[in-house]
Assembly symmetry: C2
Homo-oligomer: 239 residues x 2
DNA sequence: TCGTGTGAACGATTTCACAGCC
DNA sequence: GGCTGTGAAATCGTTCACACGA
């Protein structure tokens, strides 16, 4: 839509590509840093350089949500940050349920990633009696069986071993979780209404070894630096 | 930068889209499991179902590497697995250098992701004297300063805090690392020859909260059918 | 003049659909 | 009959390039 109310009732209903959605948190983080540094306006080019993407991408991304910028000047840093926050739902409460409190589960529970943007650890679960009862990140670990009725719009995080991942997903679904972030190397089977995203260390490493192996093949013995994608951004890599 | 992606240099082999590359490790894992279960042949449809993708995608992906299948029958499970392994460089040795041995670094160092596909922990580094000297996953943690000349084709993994991530990247680049997997919430600046991939928990969560927040908006305000929209989204969303 | 917002071109990836082989 | 391999079409995402407003 070509609406352009600089404020107020923005045009909201438009399809936003996942590629754009993945960049929003990145922009948001950079804008937040810039705000702390005293920035009041920012151009698409400046933001693009900091985010490692192109300026056209930045402008296109924001244009999907309305016209936030001022021609000749750029974007108001604070206003832009607020708009992105709102789009990302950072002004709401997002309960997180973590299943599998091993090394990775503990690491994540204690990480900064949970301590902002509305995310809040609402429960930690494991099946191992040796772990149940422990206090991690200020929350007592409970037996997975006790996860029966979770909070609404909860996000489940699976850090259990691969063999236990599907059972963990089933428990989350039964408890009403709306989406699942799976760190276990397993494809999950869930109802269509539940969104699933995958984070897989092993896949990331193998993607790298693929390109490195191929680089050797492609490169004539004394190759000059060959370009691997200059535009590297992909944090989210599913599988 | 905003420059040309340099046509891959693909003289020897056909160009393989990154989207395909990310799926290869997934296929490989599934094939490996099927082999253990005694499977001898597999159809694109069967494999697709297990991987949560479409059969056409599977066939297209494999066709980029040659004609591995038999019409009317499918693919030879073992042969296909071997071909993928080779493409991924699983038959080589891939030294891994991990920088930042906190909770996450320890978790990853001990994870299964490193114990196969040719990956091998070649070094653990940290700047904290309290951590240096500890033995993690059978390897002694060393001071980051000591990382000066790394193994060739090494893959660096950054699990340091955001504030230390760029320094870690600089150290890896100076030591000759060929690629970097960055878990810190920071865009890294590296020479074009170094490939960087990002894994960011916070971004993954925010992507989810974006879609959950939007789902609420899309829903009719009150009442009519309290389920979620029949928004036919795959169970396993991202590729 | 500067930098946004966006049609239009381009490129990448997916899907269709079917010919060809077992 | 069943299933692969692949042109062609469709879809999705990025980049170009420039009109327009501040």
């Amino acid at each position: 839509m070509t609406t352009r109310p600089a404020s107020g009732g923005g045009s909201r209903q438009r399809r936003v590509p996942e590629a754009t959605v993945v960049r929003l948190p990145l922009y948001q983080r950079i804008l937040s840093e810039m705000l702390h540094a005293g920035s009041t306006t920012v151009s698409s080019e400046d933001l693009a350089a900091r985010a490692g993407v192109t300026a056209a991408k930045v402008r296109r991304d924001f244009s999907l949500f309305g016209s936030f910028g001022t021609r000749g000047t750029g974007y108001d840093t604070a206003f832009l940050a607020a708009q992105i926050d709102r789009a990302l739902g950072a002004d709401r409460d997002w309960p997180i349920l973590i299943i599998g409190i091993g090394n990775l589960g503990r690491a994540l529970a204690n990480s900064d990633g949970f301590s902002s943007h509305g995310f809040r650890i609402a429960g930690l679960y494991d099946v191992d009696p040796a772990v149940v009862g422990a206090r991690v990140a200020g929350v007592v670990v409970r037996q997975l069986d006790e996860l029966v009725d979770g909070p609404r719009a909860a996000i489940g995080v699976i850090t259990a071993p691969a063999a236990a991942a599907q059972a963990a997903a089933d428990a989350l679904v039964a408890a009403g979780a709306a989406s699942i972030l799976n760190f276990a190397p397993r494809v999950l089977s869930v109802p269509a209404r539940v969104m699933v995203r995958y984070v897989d260390l092993s896949i990331e490493l193998q993607v790298m070894s693929f390109f490195l192996a191929r680089r050797d093949l492609d490169l004539p013995p004394l190759g000059v630096g060959l370009g691997v994608r200059p535009d590297a951004r992909d944090g989210a890599s599913p599988a």
